[in-house]
Structures are given as C-alpha cells and as structure tokens.
Amino acid sequence: MDTDNRVVDGEILEMLPTRPFFEARGISKNYEGEPVIRDVDLYINRGEIVSLVGPSGIGKTTLFTVLSGLEKPDGGAVFLAGEDVSAQAGRVGYMLQEDLLLPFKTVEENVAMPLILGGEKRRPAIKKVQPYLEAFGLAGTGGKYPAQLSGGMRQRAAFLRAYLFRSDMMLLDEPFSALDALTKSAMEQWFHRIARETGVTALLITHDIEEAVLLSDRIYLMGGHPGRITAQVDVASAKRGDAAWGKGTATPNRLRERPGSMVAPEGIRERPDGAAVGNPWVWGGMTDALRKIKEDVTEMVMHGV
C-alpha cells in the first residue's frame, strides 16, 4: 500500500512495500441491536501519530473497545503487523478515557503493573521502571499515591503504564481533555517530544481540533449515525514543509542514549528498533499552515463533510 522507508545512521533498514502496521477493516459494532459504528476503515503506519476527531457520542470510545480487542466487532477485523488480532485483548497499549490509576497502589506500582501482570516480581518490576519515571517527568513521585499527584502527572503515569505495556501500538482515549488549559498545553508539548523520542505509534481520540493538528501526522474525522469515518486530513506534509517545525531535524532517541539502557530491560516491550522514525520534528506550535488546516477541519466537522 505504501512504502515504509526508514533510514537510520545512513543505513536503509527497510524498503519493502508494507501493509500498514495497524489496520481496521470494515469495523461495525452494535449495542443492544442498535448500530453504533458502521464500516470503519482506518490504518496507521509505524511511528505515526494519528488523531480521531468527532462529536461526543459518535462512537469513538466504542471503536477503541474493538481496536483494543476488549470487545468483538459485529463486523470487520483488526490487524496488527498483518496478523488478525480481533477480540484479542492485550495486543496494544490502551489508555482509557477515565483517569484510571489504581488508587491503592503507588505511582511506581501502577506504572509497573504491566510487568507485574507479565509475571515479574514486584520489587524487580519497580526497579525496572525507575529510569522511565524520570524520563517521563515523574521523578520523585514513584512512592506517592495517585491522589497525591496533579492531574497532569496522573495522565503522564497512565500514559507511561500503557507505554510500558505496549509501546509499538497505543490507543489513547482523550488523554488530555480533563486537564486545565495550561497543563493541557504543557502536556501536549510533552507528548509530542516523548512520542518523537520513543517512536511510538499511536491513535489518539480528542475533541480538540487544535490539539489534533499539533500532535498528529494525520487526522480521521468521525461523523454520521451510526458513526463512520467521514474524512482524512494530512498534517505531516504541512509540518515537513514548515520552518517552525524544524524541517526534519532528527531528534535522537534520548531514552536509548541513557547509559545502560540501550536495550530495554527484559519484560519491557519497547519497539524492537527503538529509534524515532518518520517524523522527527521539533515543536513548532500553531503556524499559519497549521491554522489553515485547523480551519478546514473545523469546517468539515461543523458541516459534517
């Protein structure tokens, strides 16, 4: 379908025509006989950040319960790296809409949950996540309980937990919408940086079109009843051509540059290649080009395309 060319250290790693890394084909889902979403097709390439925008109640979260494998689709199938993973829970990292840190576990225990569930003992698991706490802006909070953290820190911890579960493909359901405007903006920039540094692939639900434009390479619009994908907007090309977004200045993978952490500790399922591929831009903020896209997308949402 498209060519996933990756150049790391001047070496061409892959030049194969590939199927998209993550793909949903013809997904339909009913609740109590009522169709909620119908024939949803979408794909995400490796290293891409894609947003899903649409009005409340359109079925975005419903789509995620299917994409995450928590529920079986009533039609269609979900593919991860070419494999049918429909109705298979635990194949992708999923950050739910609700702020879901376990209140009776400390931050480090919460973050280490994926390792503990994977069979690791509590202490070594907590030890392994320490460098990540620091890298994800959670230094010094490991021993605290979620109730003692700020909203932004809680979101970071929930994101880190999902990241440590599966960093290759992540589903993020409105990760920043519960935050106040200032924290939200800081978290968006933080997310942008961490996403580029770690090279995660993510599909992100948001109500905020500006956020979608700033964070993603591509935007899917959802609309109609039952909900379906109504349009797709490319943002990456605009950023690539924009001086403010650094014009392809490569950001090295900071996590992997840490001495002794060149290889992710055993049990932490980071991307095998690790490098930030594809879109290594600096944060450019809202430029004219992006403002134009935002207007277009807003128009499409308002008029239902």
């Binding site: 999923y94 739910l96 579960f165």
Partner: protein, 250 residues
C-alpha cells in the same frame, strides 16, 4: 470539648447517678449493686474472669477465623460464577433470619458440650456479615478498572489480587467489625448452654448464686472486650489501607 469527650462525660454522669441511687437505697442492693460494689467484684474475681475470658476469646477467634476464611472463599466463588451467586445468596439471607439463640440448643444436642457447637453458633452469626461485605466490595469495582486490567492481559486471579481485593477492603472491614463483636456475644450465648469454662459459663454460675455485682462485672468486661476488638479491627483496616491516609497529606 472534643467529640470523644461527650460519651466519657455521659458515662461519668450515669455512674454518679447510679451510685447515688444505690447509696440512698432507692433500689435494693441485691437487685442493683452500686458501681463501687461492681468494681470490687471485678477486682476480686479478676483472675477468674481472665481465665474464663481466655476460653471465650479462643472460641470467638476460632469461629471468626473460620467465618472469614469461608466468607472469602464463597465471596470469590459468588463473584466469579453467577450460578454460585444465584444459588448461595438467597440461602445466605435465609440463614440470617434464623434466630441463633433458638438454634443454639439444637446444636448442643447434636454436637455435645464441647467447642464444636460454640464454633458453629459463632459461624452462623459471623459468616454472613463478612460474606455480604466482601462480596459487595468485590462485585462493585468500577467496570472501567476491570477493562483496563483486561486490556493489559490480566487474568481473573490477577484482577482479584490487584484490583478487587484492595477495592473491597473497606466493605470487608465494615463486615468484620460487626462480626468481631458478634463472635464474642455468640461465644457467650453458646456457653450458657453448657461447658466447663468461658464467660458464659461464669455468667450462669453467678446468676444461680444471685451475685448481681459479679453479673454486672462480667457484662462490663464483655463490653470492654467488644470495644477493644472493634478498635483492633479498625487499626488493622488502617494499617492495610495506607492510601486512605495519603489522600489527606498531599
């Protein structure tokens, strides 16, 4: 005046009034002994009371432990299997409406004068509150929390240990709080029906001798034991839920 002082003042006044009633001979001393007489009886019989308490507390502890173990087992089964819940829940409710005091003599006839009928009586009274508390807690965990765990590939056992049990602790402990006092009362009642030692046995003996001062002394002792047990359960609850305290110290 802090809240804790109100009951203290209330009891102080009560005891003074009681002492006055006795001192002025408003009620015959053999029917209502004065607080001083009760205190004296308490002190002189202390070694005896202590010996009997050990028996009663032993039975209560055994019965309570059995109730908790069984309640945990059945609460988990009810949470895991809808069929178990549908079968057991109504049965558990019915057992609760059977008056323990009425059943106790029957149990003695069946099981003799040993420790077995006592444990049985305690179990019948204590099992239910713990079961209902714990089951309620296990089954009322936020569905989103379980979806999150499922999305990370958690098994039922993992959900139980990492989410359901910690969530249910509060409800479990409110059940246990009630059961701990029931256990002592249950032990005493079953001892009325027979046995060689225990506070219930002591009570039957002093009653036969019309020793009202000793009667009052043992009642007060049982009350104190119940209060101490509630405090112990609360302390255990607090020790096991450090996050509850963390909330206030941000």
């Amino acid at each position: 005046m802090s809240n804790g002082k109100y009951p203290v003042v209330f009891f102080a006044v009560l005891i003074i009034v009681w002492q006055c009633i006795s001192s002025f001979g408003l009620v015959p001393a053999f029917m209502l002994p004065s607080p001083v007489a009760v205190a004296k009886a308490f002190v002189t019989d202390l070694p005896l009371l202590a010996m009997h308490s050990v028996t009663t507390l032993g039975e209560a502890a055994l019965g309570l432990a059995l109730s908790v173990v069984m309640a945990v087992l059945f609460a988990v089964l009810m949470d895991r299997f809808a069929a178990v819940k549908k079968t057991l829940y109504p049965v558990a409710v019915v057992t609760q409406t059977v008056p323990t005091i009425a059943v106790a003599p029957l149990l003695v006839l069946w099981m003799g004068y040993g420790v077995a009928p006592k444990i049985a009586v305690i179990f019948i009274t204590c099992f239910f509150p713990v079961l209902i508390g714990l089951y309620g807690g296990l089954s009322s965990v936020e569905p989103a929390m379980l979806r999150l765990m499922k999305s990370m590939g958690a098994t039922y056992l993992q959900m139980l240990t990492h989410v359901k049990f910690p969530y249910a602790l509060g409800a479990f402990f409110s059940g246990l709080r009630i059961s701990a006092t029931y256990a002592v009362v249950g032990a005493v009642i079953s001892e009325w029906l027979g046995g060689n030692s225990g506070l219930g046995v002591y009570m039957t003996r002093v009653r036969k001798g019309y020793a009202f001062d000793k009667m009052f002394a043992v009642i007060i002792l049982i009350t104190i034991i119940s209060l101490v047990l509630i405090r112990l359960v609360d302390a255990l609850h607090r020790a096991l839920t450090p996050w509850e305290r963390a909330k206030s110290e941000r």
